[in-house]
Each structure stands twice: as C-alpha cells, then as structure tokens.
C-alpha cells in the first residue's frame, strides 16, 4: 500500500469538502415542481399527545389548499419559558415560524415588540371568519391598542374538578356552584391530616390566586394598565381568603404539600378532593381510578374565574402573509378546532363546536356526569370567565406577585402586607415603562 503524503491527504480533504458542500447546496435547491407551493409553518410547544392531536388538522388543510403547504413545528420546551426562549431564538435568527402559539400573558409583549402582524384587515376582508362565533372574552383578550393580534385556537376556562369518591365517602354533596363560605366549610370537612399534620386528604386546591382577587371584586391592574390595584381592599380580601384556606384552616395544600407534588398530582393521586383547572386536564384525570366530574368554581362577591385563550398569531417576518393568514384562519375555524379537539381534551373557543354531538356526548374514564362538557360552556356563556391582564411587562409583574404569594401562603406576611407589597413593586415596574 502506497503511503499517503500529508499534502495528498489535505488535497483529498479539500476535494471531499467541495463535493459535500456542492451536494448540500443541490439538496437545498427547491425542485422546479415545488416552486409554486408556498410553505407556512405553525409552531407550538408540542409533545407526543399534542403532535398526534394536530395531525388531522394539517392533513385537512393541505388537502384543501393546493397552493399552500402547512408544516407543523413542535418547538419543545413545554408550556413554559423554555418554549418562548426557543421561539425567540428562531425569530431573532430569521428562521421563525409563520404562525405560532403564544402563552397567555405574553401576546401583548410580542405585539409591543413588533413581532406580530395585526390581523384586523384580514378579518374584515374575510366574513367567513365569523368572529362572533368565538367567545367574546377570548377575542377581547387578543385585542391591544385597538388592534386584533391573533385568533384563539381553543379556549380554556377553569372549572372545579372533584373526586366524587372522596365526597361520597364523607357524605358531602358535590361542589356545584358553591359560595366561598360553603366551599370553605366543605374543604374543612373533607380534609384529613394526621397528628403530625401530614395530609391524607386535602379538602381543595389553593385555586388560581387571581380568581380569589376577582371573586372578591378586586383586580391586579387598572384598565389602562398604569396602576396596580393589589393594595385595594377588595384584592386584600381575596388574598385574605386564599391565605385562610392554607394557614388558618389548613384545608388547601401547604408549601410543604406542594414541594412534594403539584396540585394536579395531588388530585390525580387521590389526595385532594377538588381543584380548579382547565378542561385540558381531562388528559390526566381520565386515567384515574376514582370517579370524577367538573363543577362551577366557587363564588365570592362575584362569580368569575380565569380562562386561557390559546393565542395563535402571525409573525411579522412571514414571507407570505396571505398564506399565513389562511393557516391561522383554518386553525381558528370550527373545522380546525373540531379536528384538533375531537382527538384531544381542550375546550373550543367557538360556540358552534361546543354544540356538536361529539363534544356534547364526550365522556371518558370514570366520569360520572356531563359536567365535564356543560360546565365550561356555562362559564363562558354567562360571562363568568376573565382572561389574564394584558401588559407588555406581565412576565415581570407575575414574578413579583408569585414571590410575594410565597410569603402569603407561608403565613410570613399578612394579606395586607402582601397586597401593598405587590402594589408597591408592580407600580415601580409600571413607572419604569
């Protein structure tokens, strides 16, 4: 065998590099036949269950649109900051998706930074969008500075899920539409702790903190988003009730309970009698061994709870806005939502979909009633749901609030101190705006 000189080796290396690079470039060149096809990409965190639920949507869209090819991009990172991080990196690099999902509370931040296309003109030019078929609250949550920044892909009002076995064992009526006092009374009665304070059964979840504020008649920010109202009497009343569940009555999970398991895990493991979350939770609760259903959440001075929106938005960097709009429109359409949700557990943002037989008759696991299908519609139709406050700096505001809530739920601070503390810190953020 002849010996390879260093120079020959390098020449060979260079030649191989040239061949590979050329091959790579050729492979990237679009085929002549595909040149007329516009590709648009939709991005969402994704995951095994979600990917499968989206599959029928893309199949139908691509079948109905000869000139547009919809691609699905599961960005990863889960429904948390990591998804946003990955999405931001793609948008910054100019390789972002054309249409994408944004988590509640972040839409306005994206819009304020010029990342999104306002879609009012598209909606006006397309009466078939039928905006009225969407729950008004969901559409309102996507408006900012008199412009519409996206459409909902689904909706997610929060209701109270309850473990019917625990209620039956305790001989207590199921928690349908309770007042605060009734809810508290039930939760105390259902809670079982041993002499060391360890919970065998916890009467109910902490609930979304913002629900207690709203139910007490308070709010986080004023309408203009220029002032924090957490120091007001109503907000403090909501905080006081939330704190009493954990500290005074010990009938909601303590910080230690939650250090072991989050509320969802406490509920599905049969250690918590009820808790409040969206219909998408069916994916977990359907597989539990106990009987369950959904009920209206408790009411204070006002009956209200939070709803997520499923914001679906168009990137201002998209190469073909018309094609991106077609995809966005389809995702929001009754057909798009039916295709997605009928194989999953989310709640539609369109009233017409909620009336369809497949939705009305849906059941799974040990569900004991129809609450899991009717309650969410009752909440939306009666205006008992509100969306997260809209503010470009909501992520920072929310971080401040969560830190103060630690002190509330540990009993280290009074509701008054927490409320005024939040107001002070949030007002500083708003002032820096």
């Amino acid at each position: 065998m002849s010996k390879l000189s260093r120079r020959d080796f390098l020449k060979g290396l260079a030649a191989s590099g040239t061949v590979l690079s050329t091959g790579g470039l050729l492979a990237r060149m679009p085929m002549a036949a595909a040149q007329d096809m516009v590709e648009v990409t939709y991005a969402t965190p994704g995951g095994a269950v979600e990917d499968a639920a989206w599959e029928p949507v893309w199949e139908a869209f691509n079948e109905e649109n000869d000139a547009i090819q919809a691609n699905y991009l599961a960005v990863g990172g889960g429904y948390g900051p990591q998804y946003l991080q990955l999405l931001q990196a793609q948008l910054a690099a100019g390789t972002g998706p054309d249409v994408f999902f944004v988590m509640d509370g972040f839409t306005v931040g994206f819009a304020a930074r010029g990342v999104l296309v306002p879609i009012d003109s598209y909606v006006d030019a397309n009466p078939d969008v039928d905006l009225e078929d969407n729950y008004p609250g969901h559409i309102a949550a996507l408006r900012w500075q008199d412009q519409l920044w996206g459409l909902p892909r689904d909706g997610a009002p929060y209701a109270t899920w309850f473990n019917a076995d625990i209620y039956d064992e305790a001989g207590i009526d199921y928690p349908h539409g309770l007042t605060w006092d009734e809810y508290l009374e039930q939760a105390i009665e259902l809670t079982e702790r041993d002499d060391r304070g360890r919970a065998r059964v916890i009467g109910g979840g902490r609930g979304a903190w913002i629900d207690w504020i709203w139910q007490a008649g308070g709010d986080v920010l004023n309408e203009e988003g220029t002032e924090c109202l957490m120091g007001e009497a109503e907000a403090i009343e909501g905080l006081r009730f939330a704190q009493s569940l954990v500290i005074e009555h010990e009938c909601a999970p303590s910080a230690s309970d939650l250090a072991d398991q989050n509320e969802g895990a406490l509920f599905t493991s049969g250690r918590m009698a009820s808790f409040t979350i969206a219909r998408g939770f069916l994916g977990a609760v359907c597989n539990t061994p106990f009987r369950f259903d959904a009920a209206l959440p408790p009411a204070g001075a006002v009956r209200v709870g939070r709803t997520n929106v499923g914001p679906t938005v168009m990137s201002s960097d998209t190469a073909d806005r018309d094609a991106a709009w077609e995809l966005l429109k389809f995702i929001n359409s009754s057909r798009g939502q039916t295709l997605k949700i009928s194989s999953g557990y989310a709640y539609p943002s369109r009233r017409s979909v909620v009336q369809e037989d497949w939705y009305v008759n849906f059941t799974c696991g040990n569900a004991i009633g129809t609450g899991l299908n009717t309650v969410f519609n009752d909440i939306m139709e009666n205006g008992w749901a509100r969306t997260w406050p809209q503010h470009p700096r909501w992520p920072e505001i929310s971080t401040v609030i969560n830190s103060e809530l630690d002190a509330l739920y540990s009993g280290d601070k009074s509701a008054e101190d927490v409320g005024t503390g939040i107001a002070e810190q949030v007002n500083a953020i708003l002032a820096a705006e």
Partner: protein, 309 residues
C-alpha cells in the same frame, strides 16, 4: 491550548516553512473557528450587548451604562448575589472537607475497594435533573428520608424546600451528592504522596493527626487549591437545582444569580441587562479567584518548594 502552542511555536526563532505553517493552521483551524464562533465571539458580543437594551427580535438600542446603573437599584440582583455567595462560601469548603474525608477512607487497601470507589463516584455521573427530582422527595417534610431519620431522634424536621430559612441549607446539603468527582481527584493526589515521607514521620513518632496536618495536607494542598477554584466557579454557576426544585423560592430564598440572569434574559427578554449581569458575575468570580491565588502562597506547598517560616 492547541492554538497557544502553535502561536508559541510560530514565534520561536526557528521559522517554519510556509507549507509547514499552512498545514499547522489548517489543522488547528477547527478549534480556532469553534472558539471564535461559539466562545470568544459570544463573550465579546455579550460585553457590547450589556451596554444596550435588546429584546432579541428588535435591533439593540444603545443604553450606555444604564444596565449597570439599573443593577444597583435592583433588589433581586443583591438578593441573588447574596444567595449565591452564601452557597459558595458554605458549599465549597464543605465539599472539600467531605470529598477529602471520603478520599482518605478510600485510600486504603481493603477488599472490594474498587467497588466502594465506584459507588462513591457514581452519584457524580447521574443526570442533574433526575437527581434534583429525587432530592425533592428525600427532602420532603412529610415523607422524606431526611426527616424520617431526624424523627428517630425525636426531631420534627422542617419543610426543607418550603421554608425560606431552610431552602438554601437544603440545596447546600444536596450539593454533597456530587463530591464523588472531587473525591477522585483527592484520591489521585493522596496516592501521589511519596510513602517515604510517612515512613519518616512514623520514625519520628508522629501520630495520625500530626501526619495528616504536616504531611498529607501540605502535599495535597495544590489539589485543594485546584478544587477550591473549580468548586467556586461551579458554585457561582449553579442553575439546574434551584430551577427544578424551588424556582428561586420560597420568597426568593434560593434565587441564585444565574436563575435571576436567566429570567431577565429568557422570560423578560432583557438581554442587555442579562448580559450586564453576566459580566458582573464574571468580574466577581475573577476577583475571588485572584484573591484565592494571591493568598494561596501561604498555604499551598509545591513538591520541592522550601518556604521561609
């Protein structure tokens, strides 16, 4: 390192021929390119970005020293610096002591010593995410192993991760889980100590403690210095444990510096401020490292070195 050697070679009096130089540059090019693109470049870029306001998607806007001024008015900056400094000051010495102690136990000739060494090293190679999830249960107030053990002595253990005063000590305790890698380095250091020193000490009638203080410790002091510096840098870069186990809570008691930096960068999209935070951290670590090296002359002994008392 390859690049430095090459530069050194290139500037030696004996000059390489053009083709030899070209060959050399071609072979180190991947490392140099990788360093410029993925390490040196981003480091320099982050320095420039620290003087801007940048939300990633829009062009950066010049902000001068604004981000550094903001830092002085950010209570969470001081809180995160305090948390991280306390962690480093307690966890690093603790890791050194425990790592050295285990290494000395394992520096013996007993049966199955290889197995014991492997067992003590094993935790250091487990993925941090699995370890963090497991420790959440070990530290559970109601069901955890730690509190169960304390209950045997009639002690009602605290909510390690749920009470502000215990969350940081819990993470410090957990940091001992990874002492296996340090233990391995100490073990190598211990085995490098010439046995004739111990024989001489024995002849002089030195006890075990005196032998440890006057022979073992000085002889492995360079290893301890290395572990101290590396451990300190690692302690200031702790992120995964608080991110997974406490999210900085309760009440910011485990808000580590990098968690604060991460939130500003990827949750609040304040890249300029996050870059400024990273440069302040860099300077802070650099100063501490220099101080350690400055004072190391007093306690680090190198083989063959004679120190003036």
């Amino acid at each position: 390192m390859g690049g430095l050697l090459l530069i050194h070679d290139l500037f030696k009096p004996k000059r390489l021929s053009f083709w030899e130089s070209l060959n050399a540059w071609i072979f180190v090019a991947p490392w140099i390119l990788g360093f410029i693109l993925f390490t040196g470049g981003p480091i320099l870029a982050s320095f420039v970005i620290s003087f801007t306001e940048w939300d990633i998607v829009n062009p950066p806007v010049w902000f001068g020293l604004g981000n550094y001024e903001l830092m002085l008015r950010d209570p969470l900056f001081f809180q995160s610096l305090k948390v991280t400094t306390i962690y480093a000051l307690v966890a690093v010495p603790l890791q050194i002591v425990v790592g050295l102690f285990i290494a000395m136990l394992l520096n013996t000739k007993i049966r199955l010593i290889g197995l014991y060494r492997t067992l003590f090293y094993l935790p250091a190679v487990l993925p941090i995410v699995s370890v963090a999830v497991m420790w959440r249960w070990i530290l559970s107030r109601d069901w955890g192993l730690v509190n169960w053990f304390l209950s045997l002595f009639g002690v009602n253990g605290p909510g390690w991760l749920s009470e502000p005063e215990w969350a940081l000590p819990a993470l410090i305790l957990m940091s001992l889980w990874g002492v296996g890698s340090g233990m391995l380095i100490y073990l190598a250091g211990l085995q490098g100590i010439p046995t004739d020193l111990y024989e001489a000490a024995e002849v002089d009638g030195a006890g075990r403690w005196a032998t440890f203080i006057h022979i073992t410790l000085p002889m492995i002091s360079p290893v301890i210095l290395f572990q101290l510096v590396v451990g300190l840098i690692a302690a200031f870069q702790v992120f995964a444990q608080p991110f997974i186990m406490t999210q900085g809570g309760p009440q910011n008691s485990t808000l580590f510096y990098l968690l604060h930096l991460f939130r500003n960068a990827f949750e609040f999209f304040r890249m300029g401020y996050a870059s400024a935070l990273s440069w302040v951290l860099f300077m802070y670590i650099a100063v501490l490292t220099l101080l350690i090296f400055r004072f190391s002359a007093a306690w680090v002994f190198y083989e063959g070195e004679i120190k003036n008392e």
